[in-house]
């Protein structure tokens, strides 16, 4: 039986010192799965309000020391009122997201009804959980934002690469967690309108711009309401003043 310390290279994240990757992803026995490098530098944010769910995802697509694209869309629409944002290992993310998207659409066609956001979240969790116990697990962190088509209630589900699921009023993945959750703890209220939601998002992205050592190239913002999903014009050009 192999023990954790016998795995040869464990890469430590240069900032958070957390173990990032283990080599024997393809080995027959493995005990630990770590997050892929760089995934903690990707920003995913979600905020719910009285009649909407906001999802923001960083626009940088990073490989090694390079930003390959500065207008990346890390979200996929699953049905009329469910949106999924993802970060994690290159390749896995889009592959998994589009697999879920295809199945969500198949369900909608077969049943002439959409899965509710919470049903969708539980489906995604189950898929990720079975993948985790396969030879090659998907390493993807997810946020699922939606508005229930029957009750019109907005919802947000936080799901990490180990398939832990939590319904929350606001959420973040990666380093954004460390800076934004405390801001949202203070300023978020369940009954806010979209305008206030965007103000909160601005507080969060400003803080990330101010304190994160890497440039994540701004965020792409989408909002889910009972009328569907739309992209929101979000100005990222302003330089943030530091204290």
């Amino acid at each position: 039986m192999l023990e954790a310390r016998e795995f040869p290279p464990i890469f430590l994240c240069p900032v958070c010192k957390a173990p990032q990757l283990i080599t024997s992803k393809y080995a027959s026995t493995f005990l630990f799965i770590y997050q892929p490098p760089k995934s903690c530098q990707e920003v995913l944010l979600g905020i719910t309000g009285k009649d909407f769910t906001l999802i923001a995802a960083s626009k940088a697509a990073m490989r090694g020391a390079t930003i390959l694209k500065a207008s990346d869309d890390k979200t996929r629409q699953l049905n009329k009122h469910t949106l999924m944002a993802f970060s994690g290992e290159a390749g896995d993310t889009v592959q998994f997201a589009e697999y879920i998207q295809a199945n969500a659409q198949l369900y909608s066609m077969r049943n002439e009804a959409d899965l509710s956001p919470s049903a969708m979240a539980n489906f995604v969790r189950r898929e990720l959980a079975s993948s985790l116990r396969s030879r090659k697990p998907y390493m993807v962190n997810l946020l699922l934002g939606g508005v229930d088509p029957i009750t019109d209630k907005p919802s947000l589900h936080w799901l990490d690469y180990l398939a832990a699921l939590a319904p929350v009023p606001y959420a973040a993945h990666g380093y954004a967690q460390y800076y934004c959750l405390s801001i949202l703890d203070k300023h978020h209220q369940p009954d806010i309108d979209l305008e206030r939601g965007l103000e909160l998002l601005r507080l969060c992205t400003d803080e990330l711009k101010r304190r994160l050592p890497i440039d994540f190239k701004g965020v792409l913002v989408k909002v889910v309401t009972k009328d569907g999903i739309r992209e929101i014009d979000y100005d990222d050009s302003k330089q943030v003043q530091s204290a």
């Binding site: 009023p169 606001y170 380093y175 405390s182 801001i183 949202l184 203070k186 101010r210 304190r211």
Partner: protein, 236 residues
């Protein structure tokens, strides 16, 4: 065989009683002005120290030194606010909930401490410099600045502090922001908690603004202001 014996044996009674040096040391009640640090008798004392006391590189280390913290200090028009939590942890064990992490150096100088390799802050007023704030850490960095948060909960404190910080804050608002930032860190960082220790450094010296339990402050903040909406009693 004789060489072998010689290699491993020493003259009889060589270490009987205390040496001259040891005896001298014993008569000295006061510690020497410059501490003579004892070092392990091996080539790499630093490796020994790491193996025995650094629970980050060796989670099974026998001696766990307490650390994990949130401390903050910021300059504003009314002086400097200094605030800390009060938790000390050794691994997962909460060693103390009542640590005084603000050091009252004299009536117009304060220091903050954070265990391990984390930094420390010095806040004080002098007639020449006015209110001054410095960040210092164990590898020798020294930075003058307006706003610093240090420790495992620093990012959470920065989040709340940056969002509403302004140099033109009034005294009451500044104190409340300092308090709220530490509360944010104690809520999200498991290594921070206990009590909020709050100080205000003014032109004529510092004033202490309490050592207050976080638990009632948290519930008051949540129930009166509707903050912390993620904390619910529903289990759906």
């Amino acid at each position: 065989m004789d060489t072998l014996v010689a290699q491993y044996s020493r003259p009889l009674f060589e270490n009987e009683g205390s040496s001259q040096e040891e005896q001298l040391e014993l008569i000295q009640t006061l510690p020497p002005l410059s501490l003579k640090f004892a070092l392990p008798p091996i080539a790499q004392p630093s490796a020994f120290l790491r193996a025995t006391t650094d629970d980050h590189s060796n989670p099974d280390c026998p001696i766990k030194i307490a650390h994990g913290t949130t401390t903050l200090a910021f300059r504003f028009k009314g002086g400097i606010i200094v605030a800390t939590d009060s938790r000390a942890t050794a691994g997962n064990w909460i060693a103390s909930q009542t640590v005084k992490k603000v050091i009252e150096i004299n009536n117009c100088l304060l220091g903050t401490m954070a265990g391990g390799a984390a930094g420390t802050m010095c806040a004080g007023v002098t007639p020449q410099e006015g209110p001054a704030l410095y960040y210092i850490d164990s590898d020798g960095t020294r930075l003058a600045g307006n706003l610093f948060c240090v420790g495992s909960g620093q990012t959470f404190a920065y989040g709340v502090l940056d969002a509403e910080y302004s140099y033109d804050l009034e005294d009451e608002a500044a104190l409340e922001l300092g308090r709220r930032s530490i509360l944010a860190a104690t809520h999200r960082d498991a290594y921070s908690g206990g009590f909020i220790n709050l100080y205000h450094v003014k032109e004529d010296g510092w004033v202490k603004h309490g050592f207050s339990d976080t638990n009632p402050i948290f519930w008051k903040t949540k129930l009166d202001k509707g903050e912390f909406s993620n904390v619910t009693s529903e289990l759906d």
